[in-house]
């Protein structure tokens, strides 16, 4: 489908939809016939780039990859010669569906009250009709980890497909990980800070102590509960138990060197399946991270240096530094609406030394592995879900980006969004209109 045709279809959809109010991008229907993407360049992630290769998917899963495939009856053939096919992009640190408009409190469900709220689950508040979702997926992002906010033990995240009728429908993995914000370790000397270095350090130690206390309690509960399943239920510690018993991943938001250093020691002590997020100074702790094989989710490569003396490009080049050191990492836009910038955050890292292959892996297969869905997502391989998209060219570069088709589990995704519609609407406006006064 060329771009012009796409626009025509879009306009037709708009006209059809004109009578329905607000957000009316209909979630894709379950795949009911085989679809062949013909002649595209397949960025498989798992097996390199297969140029001019066909990809067939049926009942929501990829069934064949190759040339001259034997097609089942009723296969819809879409010729995408010269275009790129990618696995759907995955961002493991978003607030999508939890917030609509930053400054409007009524639309914000990110952070529950209290410093220790492991019991909350992100999918509960996920709004599948958020206007943000269509704008994000039209840039190639199919899957997002939706993460509660908070200052200490934040709650549990949910891995969501960005196309669905309800949160049940959209949930890829409703309980994906437990999230912790590591207490601040950095002494702030800026003019606005009214606490002395000592006071700050005292507060930091106190916060860290609090975290340890909470883990002690949760762990004690977990042990007691195993010994006696009839104990009264504490839903906080119940929520945390799987990190001790079932290897539920623990995502620790830790940005500066000392936070990361402490978080690693903490994770070792509790034998956690830990993932460091934020990770602005992971490059300083790269050896420690590789030694313990701890993966990292790097927030925003398009970011300022953390410290005044840092290299101007430290955030740009951090993924390359991690790659050189052998740290496993995913890249995240760490945002709500800004999740749509995920491809640019990744391309930026390529400009500053990351290999293109690793760049793509860091927003597909690596995050799928980290969150435990690599059997279904993250690469173009036979047997995996047909969660993928077609773009004009290099999805990481502004010059060739242009997502034209998307499927989530084989279901075709409506790539329209509020922005495209408003653009089309106002292109129809004529001038002069009579001035009001």
């Amino acid at each position: 489908m060329n771009r012009q045709l796409q626009i025509l279809v879009l306009v037709a959809c708009l006209l059809l939809a004109a009578t329905v109010s607000a957000h009316d991008y209909v979630p894709g229907e379950p795949q009911d016939h085989p679809i062949l993407l013909k002649g595209g360049d397949l960025y498989t992630v798992a097996n390199g780039v297969l140029e001019g290769t066909d990809l067939l998917f049926e009942d929501g899963r990829i069934t064949q990859i190759g040339t001259d495939l034997a097609l089942p009856e009723g296969t819809e053939v879409i010729d995408i010669s010269g275009k790129h096919v990618y696995p759907g992009l995955i961002d493991l640190n978003t607030q999508l569906g939890l917030i609509e408009i930053g400054a409007v409190r009524a639309t914000n469900d990110i952070t529950e009250r209290g410093r220790t709220t492991p019991e909350v689950k992100a999918y509960i508040a996920y709004n599948p009709d958020s206007e943000l979702l269509p704008s994000v997926r039209s840039n190639g992002i199919t899957t997002a980890l939706v993460v509660p906010g908070g200052s200490l033990i934040r709650g549990r995240s949910s891995l969501m497909n960005l196309d669905g009728w309800t949160w049940e429908d959209a949930a890829e993995k409703p309980i994906a990980a437990l999230h912790i914000s590591w207490p601040r370790t950095r002494v702030i000397t800026a003019w606005w800070m009214d606490q002395s270095a000592e006071e700050q350090k005292e507060q930091m130690a106190k916060n860290r102590r609090e975290l340890v206390d909470m883990f002690d309690k949760a762990h004690a509960y977990s042990i007691a509960k195993q010994a006696d399943p009839d104990l009264p239920k504490d839903i906080r510690w119940e929520a945390m138990a799987p990190i001790f018993t079932d290897d539920l991943p623990v995502f620790i938001e830790a940005n500066d060197y000392r936070q990361i250093e402490q978080a690693i020691a903490f994770a070792e002590k509790w034998k956690l399946n830990v993932v460091i997020t934020g990770a602005r100074e992971a490059w300083r702790a790269a050896d420690m991270l590789t030694e313990h094989d701890i993966p990292v989710i790097v927030s925003r490569t398009q970011n300022m240096p953390l410290r005044s003396d840092d290299d101007y490009d430290i955030a740009f080049k951090q993924p390359a530094l991690l790659q050189q050191a052998g740290v496993r990492f995913a890249i995240s836009a760490s945002s709500s609406w800004g999740t749509r910038n995920l491809p640019w955050h990744t391309g930026m890292a390529v400009a500053f030394g990351l290999t293109p292959e690793m760049a793509l892996r860091s927003i597909t297969l690596t995050p799928a592995e980290i969150i435990g869905v690599a059997d279904d997502l993250g690469s173009l391989e036979v047997g995996k879900k047909a969660t993928l998209f077609v773009s004009q060219g290099d999805v990481l570069d502004y010059l060739e980006h242009g997502v034209e088709l998307m499927f989530i589990g084989g279901a075709a995704v409506d790539l329209s969004n509020k922005h495209k519609e408003l653009y089309e609407k106002y292109r129809q406006k004529e001038y002069p209109v009579e001035a009001a006064e």
Partner: protein
């Protein structure tokens, strides 16, 4: 004249102790005539009498010299071996005054926009000029003690609170009635940029403080003229009474003592002084060494605090990341500041003000001397200069006849570590005694024998705090409870090793030959002893840490990481074989050359010849574009970017607060950005005036300004200005609706028109008439608005929704002017045609949305639609992060709406240049334009493009290779500094190696770049 009268008064003071105060008991008639003889007298830093006499009577110095006849009846104090110094003068203090009390802030309450007016004072609570602090002065013995203990006899005092702080008084630290202590009741007015205890909203930014100062200094003149016009012609509206303005009338001749926080603020204060011809005495910060030449060029006298930063804690791995190079350098350089200031020939006085602990004063002063400050300069800065600053140089500061007899007595050079201060006399009276003059000095080595054994007795240490031992062969017995009591010395010792078990106690007195006395052995038997003096006591080993040794760090400009050691030179440069994006009609030229000379583009073409000495850059495979221009930036601004208090603040100017030491300037250069409009924030409908700068890293604030640009000003609309998201308390400022935004703007424009007319009419009056008419008061806010409505100052308006943009265009049209640019302009696409017709430009965010309600309809296709409809469109940053990759922000329009690559690049080059009205100079690559350009390793609209070199005016401000070298140098510098801090931490045991070495502390020509030698030009 006043001084002479005062002197006379002073002389009369002591005739009868109290002149107007009734004596309620027996009158004191103790004679006051005293002679201090056989002393070394330091009359002034230039003149010392080796063996002289000082005669004092009635609080004054009657005579001083080496050939003085002592008047009959004088009480004589023999000061053999002692030195007399003038009492020190503290030029700034709050001595004897109540401290400013901050009214309990209305936490959680509504903001306070208006002052409580008392006694016809100023409209702003940060102005206290109506106060003369003599009114509140009461001597405070405890506080006086602190100063006296350091050697001060005279202080200038005022309450150091607010922007205009009121008038200081100059007082002595003597005891008695306040009336007797005053040398100068009406001293200098003081000022600062800090609003202090004021809880009034305005000003809440540095630029707001500056605007308030500027307007106040203007008002002084108007107030005077208005009063005389009214006196001549009462048939007009009565001008208000304003005691603050009244009090400030003399400030243009008397000057201001202006307190500053850092080197940049010091220069800002000096500029205000220059603008209004107000002489400035500037209270510095200790950072003067960073910009010595500029500080010197102010030709102001400085008052220097003498605080040094503590060494940062870097004991744990990781600590060092929290410490910046700038802080480490300051730790290392701060002790050299007085020396460097003095070497630069800058006139300065010392102050104890701003010391965390006043008791650190002498320690820090001695460190400054060890760092190279000559002692004479130090003495001058403690006596003559502060006396002159306080306006009492003919009364105190030297020990000349006729002056107040305030002096101190020491036993040696005031600045030597071992020297003792014995006491300080204020107006002839011993006001603070540290050690009695009569105290016998027992220090020395003595030989004595006890129990037929020859012993050495050593007494050393401070004259009134002795340490001692008895030694023989390899034994040493420590003396305990060693006490002096004028003529007697007492101690005890355990003499077991001499065969006397238990504690033996001694009492002794000096004799002609040594020391003699008695001792009691433990058995209770008294014995006599006699010791022969054999020599001086050995010097006390100097265990004090001396870290002034060698400076490992450099000074750069600015003096932070990635500052330049040398400013880039303007070069003739030929770029060859590049893909040149001209951003004008010439389009994109493949394989082309560009020649720059004298900061301008000399030619663009193919096969250009390289002139002699030209730098030739082979740019094969590279892309050459104009320097990227950011229409909307807030980098390089000191203090708050919003004067977010009043709804209209057109009087404030970003140009007053440009910060050339913001690392984000360097980072922007690294992203190819060469220029930015620095804007006031969006907290009010009519904000402050903007400043266009080129990112001339290493330059001064003034050097960064792009002077070719017409002025512009920030306006704002919508949620921010109606305070929608400011919390529930912020609901009392007009406007609270978009309707009110329109009307407050309309009112402002109307006022500007009327003001302009009134000023014109007044100017057209004949001279005689003008003298009879109260002139329209010059109002800096209305001045700016007059420029706005006359299209001399271009409006850059923060805007989101279509209705408000339409409103402002129509309003401007009513007043017959044009809006320059709508910035952010997120719903611009809805009124693109209207904007094109009005002639407004659009500076759009590339893709921001959903962060508040008014941006819910923002779309990333906005720039495309605006461009399609003929609006001059740019993409802007509003953020240091976006501001260093604006090429990418422009490229998003290629991704979202298929904009052509050339158009996209124009959105960050020629289009913003047009919006800023500087497109004749910059924004495209064409002959005659400024040589501002960027070399990229790839198509500049690609995410893979990395800026390799960034040039401004034919000077290379960023080079990716040079950046790598800088990183290595900084890492090495930091490593060495951290080691030095660690070394200093644990160095008390091996301090010997730390004392100033043979090569001297300040003769480090290799570590001191050209920029910092006081005599050189440069930064």
């Amino acid at each position: 004249m006043i001084i002479r009268i005062l002197l006379t008064l002073l002389a009369m003071v002591s005739i009868g102790a109290a002149q107007t105060t009734p004596e309620l008991g027996i009158r004191d008639k103790t004679p006051t005539l005293q002679a201090f003889t056989n002393a070394r007298i330091v009359v002034s830093p230039e003149r010392t009498i080796e063996n002289g006499t000082l005669v004092v009577e009635d609080g004054r110095i009657v005579a001083v010299g080496d050939d003085i006849t002592i008047p009959d009846g004088a009480a004589i104090h023999d000061l053999t071996g002692k030195t007399i110094y003038p009492g020190l003068v503290e030029p700034i203090s709050q001595y004897g005054l109540p401290k400013a009390e901050q009214p309990e802030r209305r936490r959680g309450g509504p903001p306070q926009y208006e002052a409580e007016r008392v006694g016809a004072d100023a409209w702003n609570e940060a102005i206290h000029a109506e106060h003369s602090w003599i009114e509140r002065f009461a001597p405070d013995a405890k506080e006086a003690e602190e100063y006296l203990d350091l050697g001060f006899a005279t202080v200038q005092t005022a309450r150091l609170d607010g922007i205009f702080r009121g008038r200081a008084a100059v007082v002595m630290l003597g005891k008695g009635l306040p009336n007797e202590q005053v040398l100068q009741p009406y001293g200098h007015h003081l000022a600062s940029f800090d609003k202090g205890s004021s809880t009034q909203q305005y000003p809440n930014s540095l630029m707001g403080s500056i605007a308030l100062i500027r307007q106040t200094l203007l008002d002084i003149g108007w107030y005077d003229r208005a009063a005389s016009a009214f006196a001549r012609n009462p048939e007009q509206e009565r001008p208000e009474t304003n005691r603050a303005l009244e009090a400030l009338q003399g400030v243009r001749t008397d000057g201001l003592i202006f307190e500053t926080e850092n080197d940049l603020d010091l220069l800002r204060a000096a500029r205000i002084g220059e603008e209004f011809s107000v002489p400035m005495i500037l209270v510095g910060s200790g950072y003067e060494y960073r910009r010595l030449d500029q500080v010197k060029a102010t030709r102001s006298t400085l008052i220097l605090p003498i605080e040094y930063p503590e060494a940062p804690s870097v004991t744990a791995i990781g600590d060092e990341y929290d410490v910046s190079i700038a802080d480490l350098r300051h730790w290392e350089w701060a002790p050299f500041n007085p020396y460097l200031v003095d070497s630069a020939g800058i006139d300065f006085a010392f102050t104890t003000h701003r010391l965390k602990k006043k008791s650190h004063f002498w320690k820090h002063l001695r460190t400054a001397i060890e760092a190279g400050l000559p002692k004479e300069a130090a003495l001058r800065a403690l006596t003559i200069t502060p006396a002159r600053i306080a306006g009492v140089a003919d009364q105190v500061g030297t020990l000349e006849a006729g002056k107040v007899a305030s002096f101190m007595v020491t036993d040696g050079d005031l600045f030597d570590r071992e020297t003792e201060r014995f006491g300080i006399w204020v107006a002839g009276e011993l006001t603070h005694e540290m050690i009695p003059l009569e105290q016998t000095d027992f220090r020395g080595e003595y030989a004595l024998s006890l129990r037929e054994r020859d012993l050495t007795l050593t007494l050393r240490g401070d004259i009134d705090k002795l340490k001692g031992k008895l030694s023989f062969d390899d034994h040493a017995i420590k003396l305990q409870s060693l006490e002096t009591e004028l003529e007697l010395v007492r101690f005890m010792a355990e003499l077991d090793t001499l065969g006397i078990p238990g504690v033996t106690r001694f009492t002794g007195a000096l004799t002609d030959s040594g020391l003699a006395g008695i001792y009691h052995t433990p058995d209770g038997i008294e014995h006599r002893f006699s010791a022969l003096r054999t020599g001086d006591a050995p010097d006390t080993p100097d265990t004090a840490k001396v870290r002034v040794a060698e400076r490992l760090s450099r000074l750069t400009s600015p003096n932070i990481a990635f500052g330049f050691t040398e400013l880039p030179e303007q070069q003739t440069v030929l770029v060859q074989n590049a893909t040149i994006w001209t951003c004008d009609e010439a389009g994109v030229l493949e394989d082309a050359d560009m020649l720059c000379r004298d900061g301008r583009i000399a030619a663009i073409g193919t096969d250009l010849e390289a002139p002699d000495n030209a730098l030739v850059i082979d740019a094969s495979g590279m892309h050459l574009t104009p320097g990227v221009i950011d229409e909307h930036s807030h980098v390089a601004i000191s203090g708050n970017v919003n004067e977010g208090t009043h709804a209209v603040t057109a009087e404030v100017r970003i140009g007053d607060v440009v910060d050339p030491a913001d690392i984000n300037v360097y980072r922007a250069l690294a992203g190819g950005t060469t220029m930015a409009r620095l804007l006031h924030g969006s907290a009010n409908p009519i904000g402050g005036q903007a400043q266009l700068v080129k990112f001339r890293w290493g330059g001064t604030a003034e050097e960064m300004k792009m002077t070719e640009a017409p002025p512009s000003i920030k306006f704002a609309l919508g949620e921010n200005v109606k305070q929608s998201n400011w919390g529930d308390n912020m609901t009392i400022r007009y406007p609270q609706t978009r309707m009110g935004v329109e009307t407050i703007m309309q009112d402002a424009f109307q006022a500007a028109r009327e003001y302009e007319q009134a000023r014109t009419e007044y100017a057209e009056l004949g001279r005689g008439e003008r003298e009879r008419m109260i002139p329209p008061r010059q109002d800096l806010q209305l001045d700016a608005l007059v420029e706005v409505v006359n299209n001399d100052m271009w409006v850059c308006c923060h805007s989101y929704v279509q209705s408000e943009m339409l409103m402002l265009m129509r309003l401007a049209e009513k007043f017959d002017f044009t809006i320059g640019t709508f910035t952010h302009v997120l719903e611009g696409y809805k009124v693109a045609d209207e904007m094109a017709a009005h002639g407004a430009g659009a500076g759009s965010f590339s893709d921001w949305w959903a962060y508040k309600f008014e941006v819910y309809d923002a779309i990333p296709q906005n720039p495309c639609l605006l461009m399609e409809r003929g609006v001059v469109t740019s993409v802007n940053s509003d953020s240091p992060e976006l501001g260093r990759r604006l090429n990418q922000e422009a490229a998003k329009s290629i991704a979202y709406c298929d904009m052509s690559q050339e158009d996209a690049l124009k959105m960050v080059t020629i289009n913003p240049a047009k919006q800023l009205r500087v497109d004749r100079y910059v924004g495209s690559l064409a002959e005659g334009k400024h040589a501002d350009f960027v070399l990229w390793n790839d198509n500049p609209l690609s995410i893979y493009a990395v800026a390799q070199q960034t040039w401004i005016d034919g000077r290379k401000y960023f080079d990716i290779e040079r950046d790598k070298t800088m990183r290595r140098d900084l890492a090495e510098e930091k490593r060495r500094l951290i080691q030095k801090v660690l070394d200093a931490d644990g160095s008390s045991s091996n301090s010997g190696s730390h004392t100033t070495g043979s090569h001297g502390p300040y003769d480090q020509s290799t570590s001191m770049p050209r920029c910092c030698m006081p005599s050189q030009g440069g930064f």
